[in-house]
Symmetry: C2
DNA sequence: CTGAAAGCGCTTACAG
DNA sequence: CTGAAAGCGCTTACAG
């Protein structure tokens, strides 16, 4: 591999000291315009590229942040990751994305790797369990999105307003005339999903004439879609038929719709269905899916800004926890 | 931020030199079992974490690879990224994922950042244009997936067998009795997609009784799905109706199916449709989509292994280009 | 089996 | 305005 030039060689070629080259590079400190031109010329001519590793070691700042995410294939996460990364990039930070695949050993290994790489901050998205930061050798600014950290000390916390999301979903079904509502979710979901259920239940409880039942799939072996199909089988067996379903994600919702259809139950005329996430699939399905849309741009912006703020303040160890709650939006389509 | 301990402090606490601590850490060089135990004990007790940045600067090896990808939201890319990253991780490498959003300025900026971070290698996935590596200050092992690099020197090249993919798609339609086939794609697609079209055309040309037409959407403002709907409008207007469609991705295929349905044309009885990628949506749609599945695990494995091989050989500058071509598979479902 | 020392490529007080 | 020098935390010949 061709060796790249160092600041030392640039200095020699420019006839100045390495200190001066460094100053020009960082536009920091005083130097004559003439010197600057001279150095910049040599840098250009030699395609010099600064060595960030050396910078990081020296300055103890990596301008890199680590991002822990359970699953990159999920559309919601992919969007969120993409936007956070884009925001951080415009602010001069690189992002190392670590996909844990919900494997806590992998999560720990990644945390150590990020620690060793001196990342300036950490963003953790969702995840099944409490976040165990005891493996870190340093205290590091941390922002969690939809996840409860078990960390003492300063943690930023950005949440989508899942509680309201559930509430709005129920409200919509009720306003459409539903009186027997099934709330369908997964028994193994993270707290963000449980909040959706909680919101939906709370709302229904405000309406004495509306009943609900909770159906939690524990079929970890199935995809969300397949779980929905599976749950639909339960639904059609019931003596008191449901007329509304709130599913805590869109794939689940679509599985339910298809499962119901297989049993001759039509959506939305016989049963109305509301999903969650406003996944890309919502628009292309027939019936298209009524759903709750999370504000991904705002979640990304809040998380990135909060982390950057924490990095720059770097007050280190007082236990202040900043929280942001980002609104959601009901999107009405054909299914309810 | 709490400062982490250095090897120097571990050395002091263990009563040995930093050299010895380093040896124990890397299990490299000779030392007594007693020394090892002593040092390891201190490391454990103090939750010592090695500083990879210092290691990298010293050894000029970062055990980090960079990955340039056009779009993380695309299911095919997301899967591929995920699997490459997982493979590299088991081999001790971290992966920095850089999403270019098809913006070449962003691509250049990322390339520079990766260069500055001393990544040991680079994987580039797809992308619209030739890859411009002139911004790199070093020669670096590079593997391209479905992308033509314009680089002199050693480049690994892993491709999905897009040509055969197109061929197989046509074959299937023909074997299902189609005689008027529309090949639908995007005018702005990368070469990997053009290969699919080429394969499909070649195959049809083998069959004198089968005709085809090529429809390329140039509506960059539309999603793939919307482009499909749009194209379907063209299709139904034609005097000689088509009875088969090959679309170069699944979302496009689904748009066509929905567009045809809107005009009263039924799939698969009147028109048969084959998509490409075997996206997660294929199974949940009705009709479910017949498609060409790329072998993502093998693509990931080949790319990762090839890159690792190049890194370890590091022969640097002979112009050998390794190529791998990964087979695809026809998956027959309801739409054709 | 172990240590002293050089050096990876930078930044930044300190001195002038 | 500029340079000499220390030091970030490691690894690795070299010497013993």
């Amino acid at each position: 591999m061709k060796k790249s030039l160092s600041i030392k060689e640039i200095a020699a070629l420019s006839g100045v000291s390495v200190a001066t080259v460094s100053r020009v590079l960082n536009d920091n400190g005083r130097f004559s315009e003439e010197t600057r031109q001279k150095v910049l010329k040599v840098i250009k001519e030699n395609n010099y590229q600064v060595n960030s590793i050396a910078q990081t070691l020296r300055s103890q700042r990596s301008t890199t942040i680590g991002m822990i995410v359970p699953d990159i294939k999920n559309g919601f996460f992919a969007n969120l990751i993409n936007q956070i990364e884009a925001t951080l990039f415009t602010r001069g930070y690189s992002t190392i994305i670590c996909t844990t695949d919900k494997d806590s050993a992998k999560e720990t290994a990644y945390l150590k790797a990020l620690d060793a790489k001196l990342v300036d901050g950490l963003i953790c998205i969702s995840g099944q369990e409490y976040l165990d930061l005891s493996v870190m050798s340093r205290r590091i600014p941390l922002v969690c999105i939809d996840r409860n950290p078990n960390v003492k000390g300063e943690v930023g916390f950005v949440q989508s307003d899942n509680l309201t999301g559930g509430t709005v979903a129920s409200q919509h079904l009720i306003s459409e005339g539903c009186q027997q509502i099934a709330i369908v979710s997964k028994s193994d979901g993270p707290s963000s999903i449980q909040k959706r259920v909680e919101g939906a239940v709370n709302e229904i409880n405000q309406h004495p004439n509306v009943n609900y039942q909770l159906l939690l799939s524990d079929r970890k072996d199935l995809s969300n879609y397949a779980r929905g199909v599976d749950i639909a089988k339960e639904l059609v067996k019931q003596t008191q038929p449901v007329d509304g379903v709130f599913a805590t994600n869109d794939w689940l919702a679509w599985g339910i719709i298809q499962g119901l259809k297989d049993h001759g139950v039509h959506v939305p005329t016989q049963v109305k269905v509301v999903g969650y996430d406003n996944d890309d699939i919502c628009e292309i399905l027939q019936p298209s899916l009524t759903t709750i849309s999370q504000n991904i741009p705002e979640l990304a912006e809040e998380a990135a800004n909060l982390l950057l703020k924490m990095i720059h303040i770097d007050n280190g160890n007082d236990g202040v926890i900043e929280k942001k709650r980002v609104p959601v939006e009901l999107i009405v389509r054909d299914s309810a």
